[in-house]
């Protein structure tokens, strides 16, 4: 297992390095003087010189990359052209909102998908299965931002139940915060729920036909005990992997959802910074999102290697 973990960590490190190369190359592809790109159009000669000095823009490209990477690893992602605040600091203030949104959406997605997937698998080929599968198909096909707009139209404009936009920090007023986060979480969660439900259904169908489930049934266990204790626990393993891989979709979805519900999170930040040509901010946000995707998936992989005895033992056997 140790060998597997080292190998997995090594691959992640290489991936992170490649990500940084892609982002670095991307910024250099922006037409114009890189100092001008990073300092903004209204920077004066002194400002340009400062940027040139900081990133060593007169040195050869490989050296520039090493220097930039060194600064980035230490958390120095430059400063926003628009606000002149550090990129890392700006991201840190916006991140909690997006993380809260993501966590609530995950709750919504898991709360819908796992029960629906299990029911569809247990009652396979019944109307329940058809209903769950059809809903899942609709969930995959519906554009989330349209769903969000329709929800605002119904819940806020017509019924007046929930506010359509605005944000109240969780620490200030938890109830008002949740009222404003409910619709965004629902919108972001349904797309994920659709994907997860399909996976849960497939995984459960496979597990339910396994020998140990038949044994559990044969020894007279109740259906609920068989499904929950024997099948679900094993069936969920592939679902957890899919959940890790869906983090990217969740981050993309957060960008759109925050835009519709006017939540001042990470996603709104990146869209705004594109329109204001705030290149250092775009660069920082892209780098941070991609890196966190790699790290989240590393954690997912490692945690279930540790938790799952089958992989643990096989890993040790391979190593021996």
């Amino acid at each position: 297992m140790f060998e597997f973990l080292v190998r997995r960590a090594f691959i992640s490190a290489v991936t992170l390095l490649l990500i940084s190369l892609i982002v670095f190359a991307g910024v250099r592809m922006i037409p114009g003087d890189p100092a001008r790109v990073l300092a903004g159009t209204d920077a004066d000669a002194a400002g340009l010189e400062e940027i040139r000095e900081k990133y060593g823009l007169n040195a050869p490209l490989p050296l520039q990359y090493v220097r930039w990477l060194g600064l980035a690893v230490r958390g120095d992602l430059g400063e926003s052209i628009r606000t002149r605040q550090s990129v890392a600091g700006t991201v840190a203030t916006k991140l909690p909102i997006t993380v809260e949104l993501a966590c609530l959406s995950l709750l919504v997605a898991i709360g819908i998908a796992i029960p629906a997937g299990v029911i569809a698998a247990v009652r396979r080929n019944t109307p329940w299965d058809v209903l769950a599968s059809s809903l899942s198909l609709c969930g995959v096909s519906v554009p989330n931002f349209w769903l969000g707009i329709m929800l605002i139209l119904l819940v806020s404009v017509r019924l007046g139940w929930l506010p359509a936009s605005g944000f109240v920090p969780l620490t200030e007023d938890p109830v008002a915060n949740l009222k404003r986060m409910l619709m965004p979480a629902l919108v972001l969660g349904t797309g994920l729920a659709a994907v997860l439900m399909r996976q849960t259904r497939n995984a459960m169908i496979e597990v339910l036909s396994a020998d140990y489930v038949r044994t559990a049934r044969a020894k007279g266990l109740a259906q609920a005990a068989v499904v929950v204790r024997h099948a679900l626990r094993n069936g969920l393993i592939p679902v957890v992997t899919i959940l890790g891989l869906q983090m990217g979709a969740l981050m993309s979805g957060a960008v759109v959802t925050e835009q519709i519900f006017v939540l001042p999170g990470f996603g709104r930040l990146i869209v705004e910074s594109v329109f204001t040509r705030d290149y250092p901010l775009v660069q920082g946000v892209v780098l941070i999102t991609a890196s966190s995707y790699v790290l989240i998936n590393l954690v997912v992989d490692v945690s279930y290697t540790v938790l799952n005895p089958r992989i643990r033992i096989r890993g040790t056997a391979d190593a021996g």
Partner: protein
């Protein structure tokens, strides 16, 4: 489904069934269509959207970009079944023209992804070794960029337009094709008929083009039918955010962007473009499920 027909070489299974390849595929399509009417309906609706996209200039009742100040935000009526927008443009005409943009973005981006992804995956899976390792690590890194973040990054560099949005969506989908193709090549390369061809002295290119590619093409096509609706939604998202098609061009995404500002006064502006995206994506997914059964009965 039992494994009795589980031979991947179509030439063999067709020979065994003693029927011509064309009629075999068509007959299977007919059987699948009868068993799964939803797939058939999906395919028909997709076809309808294709007709709409191609025939937009003749089908649309009026000019999709002509503004009319006397008809601003008029509710649906006989003259304008989908109502008019904030600049007095006909909603129906804009939805019809929007099909063209959506189809363009959806199909061309996935074509681009296949054009890059399939050859690269083919080489990586066929030659393996260091090349394979390099390609796999690069796709790992590429896949780590959430699609929209990648698209935003690319549009920042290239500037917002339909072409650049299509390019960004295509590049975002490319690693999926590299991985899929590579995986398929790895399994097919072990088959006897590929080894046989190699033993008979066939060159690398010939083995790849004549023996491997025909056997994996159906799986790649099935993936494409799943990817096109995703790409269509992606274009709508980018245009909605203002990063794709620029106004006044009639894209469903830009229409929804405008609609969002008038939800109270003119909710109909938001109904139709969104419904169009939903219907097209749903139909593609339904048709794709059917196509999977037609092309790859083993997978069913």
């Amino acid at each position: 489904m039992p494994d009795s027909t589980a031979t991947p070489a179509y030439s063999l299974s067709i020979a065994a069934e003693a029927s011509a390849p064309r009629s075999g595929l068509l007959a299977r399509a007919w059987r699948v269509g009868r068993r799964r009417p939803a797939a058939l309906v999906g395919a028909l609706v997709v076809l309808l959207f294709v007709v709409m996209a191609v025939g937009a200039p003749w089908l649309a009742p009026s000019d999709p970009v002509r503004t009319d100040w006397s008809k601003i935000r008029k509710a649906p009526s006989w003259a304008h079944p989908f109502g008019t927008d904030d600049l007095g443009r006909d909603g129906l005409s804009r939805v019809i023209w929007g099909a063209r943009i959506s189809m363009q973005a959806g199909v061309f981006s996935i074509l681009l992804a296949m054009l890059i992804g399939v050859p690269v995956g083919l080489c990586a899976g066929y030659y393996r070794g260091a090349l394979d390792q390099l390609v796999m690590r690069l796709t790992d890194a590429w896949l780590a960029f959430p699609f929209l973040i990648l698209a935003i990054g690319l549009v920042t560099i290239l500037g917002p337009s339909l072409t650049n949005a299509t390019l960004a969506i295509g590049l975002g989908a490319t690693p999926t094709y590299i991985r899929l193709t590579r995986g398929l090549v790895l399994s097919v390369s072990q088959e006897d008929y590929v080894r046989g061809a190699r033993a008979l002295g066939a060159g690398d290119l010939r083995v790849m083009a004549r023996h491997i590619l025909p056997n994996i093409v159906s799986a790649i096509l099935v993936q494409a039918t799943v990817a096109v609706p995703t790409a269509i939604i992606a274009e709508a998202v980018l245009s909605f955010l203002g990063l794709g098609v620029q106004p006044p061009a009639p894209s469903w995404g830009t229409m929804l962007n405008a609609a969002q500002q008038f939800l109270e006064q003119a909710p109909w502006m938001a109904y139709w473009p969104g419904l169009a995206i939903f219907l097209l994506a749903l139909s593609f997914n339904l048709a794709g499920d059917g196509l999977r059964d037609v092309l790859d009965p083993r997978d069913y």
